[in-house]
Amino acid sequence: MNPTTTPGTGTQLGQPNSTAILFFLLFVGVTLGITYWAARKTKTTSEFFAAGGGVSALQNGFALAGDYMSAASFLGIAGLVAMSGFDGLIYSVGWLVGWPVVTFLIAEPLRNLGKYTFADVVAYRLKQTPVRLAAALGTLTVVSFYLIAQMVGAGNLIHLLFGLSYELAVVIVGAVMILYVLFGGMIATTWVQIVKAVLLLAGASALAGAVLYKFGFNPLALFNEAATQYGAQTLAPGALVSNPLETISLGLALMFGTAGLPHILMRFYTVPNAKAARSSVFYATGLIGYFYLVTFILGFGASVLVGRQAITSVDKGGNMAAPMLAEVVGGTGFLGFISAVAFATILAVVAGLTLSGAAALSHDLWSSVVRKGEAPEHEQLKVARLASLFLGVLAVVLGVAFKGQNVAFMVGLAFAIAASANFPALLLSMAWRKFTTYGAVASMLTGSFSAVLLIFLSPTVQVDLLKNASAMFPLKNPGIITMPLAFVVGVLVSLLFPERESSERFAEVKHRMHMGAVLPPVPAAAKSAASDPSATPTPTPSKA
């Protein structure tokens, strides 16, 4: 309560910072160089969307971590911990626990059954057109909300960090990201993620090290200092979890939403086989877990060394806690480095999102639904590039359109939709023989629409945004209702309208899910699969 000796009041934050600009130009220069190299290797759709399956497990582990660790988790969670102590930690933990679920339930079957999108897996033994339409809707909804949150966050952050105008910041992020995706496809995007993940982990570690140095490398001394300054309750649960049901609902969305995020799922197609997919999530979980443990140190470090008042005086949400901490422990140079890392973080995440949206548009909608799998390779690649360009421009437009709006809830919304629209259908299609086309479509549509509707009726939109006195739906996150609902609808509709072909082809799914892309065991099934080109991915260099 008494940070009167605040050292952070003379912050250079928001001034054009030569170190920040230098590091940022260096990052953009190096990544555009990588993009140039990647562009020359990107000649097929498989290379454009899946890096030709040539990414190693360790590389993909870093890339997954890069895709997942957004500026929201770096700046947002460090800020939350700085401002509310232990309550912020609940988020650190929550953002990690989705990864074991991805490891156990999703990674390997997805790698063995699909080609570029999760719709490949759901549609494998079902009717292509309706399933892909519904899956593309779910993917594009998740990608749009996530993109809006990232672009608006990017505009605000860069405005705060560098003093650039909001619109200019959004346009720069959009333009550089379009160059990555349009020319370098998945190969460039993967390397941008790897570079960003290494920078972010190194930056956060250096910052934590500098903080701990002041406390004799004893985190407990740091926590104790926080308790001395702000009272013992800063180490205990506070007001953030006043409603247990709310917390559980958010927890469910975070846990199962991770397993339904299109840009995360897409990464499993970049490795050569299921074993590499398995190892890559193990590496990613370790890197992300380490990162969230480090946010404990950064958050408490900022509240002790920068002071809560100084942090809120710059940004009410507390998002500037980590950059301000960097300035206090390492001067303007370190502030510049951390600012550039935050910028790079946003760039990499939007690139991954755009690429996964482009895959839904071109692979699911154009190649499978419109052209029924008859589109020649060069046409698919052209449509894929057009789709990336379209989504990149759309991201900039949305970023500018939502200027000044509170969009923090949109990330939670994206997770809730991913957990309700994508995850149930994906799991049922891999694990349940009697799943049908109608069941899948009903489950995905129910998940998407119920999640969006309940968020619209929630206090976040009704009270905070529209300034109504009360909201029809009491919870801020609808996951606890909409995810079980999507499962129940999927199962009931499948039981009401059985589909013989789907259950007959389950043996083939099961075989391929475990053995990889080898010849299906039943000749009849092989014939029906061959007549449907979109369901028969080209042979990949798998071990099988």
Partner: protein
């Protein structure tokens, strides 16, 4: 041509993979929601400091993160060993 016994073996292997996956998923759920429920319903315990600076809540938060990773490690060890051996036998 896969024989009847091969199909049975794959069936058994598939069942055991889902079993392991389900058990580990439930373990993750229990760890995380156990943490959340303690936060929600036993705030005094979570705020209790074991040594100055280390509250039960902070310790358990870190334990859940490490546990989550350890569970993925357990799955890896099982899959790289038993599961992959059974798979390569099936492929023969």
């Amino acid at each position: 041509m896969p024989s009847k016994s091969q199909e049975d073996a794959l069936e058994a292997l598939a069942a055991s993979r889902w079993r392991v996956a389900a058990v580990l998923t439930v373990a993750t759920l229990v760890a995380y929601f156990g943490f959340i429920l303690l936060v929600a319903f036993n705030k005094p315990l979570m705020g209790k400091q074991l040594t100055p600076g280390l509250s039960v809540g902070i310790l358990l938060g870190a334990v859940v993160i490490v546990t989550a990773w350890a569970l993925t490690g357990i799955y890896m060890i099982w899959a790289n060993g038993k599961y992959d051996r059974a798979l390569s036998q099936l492929r023969r």
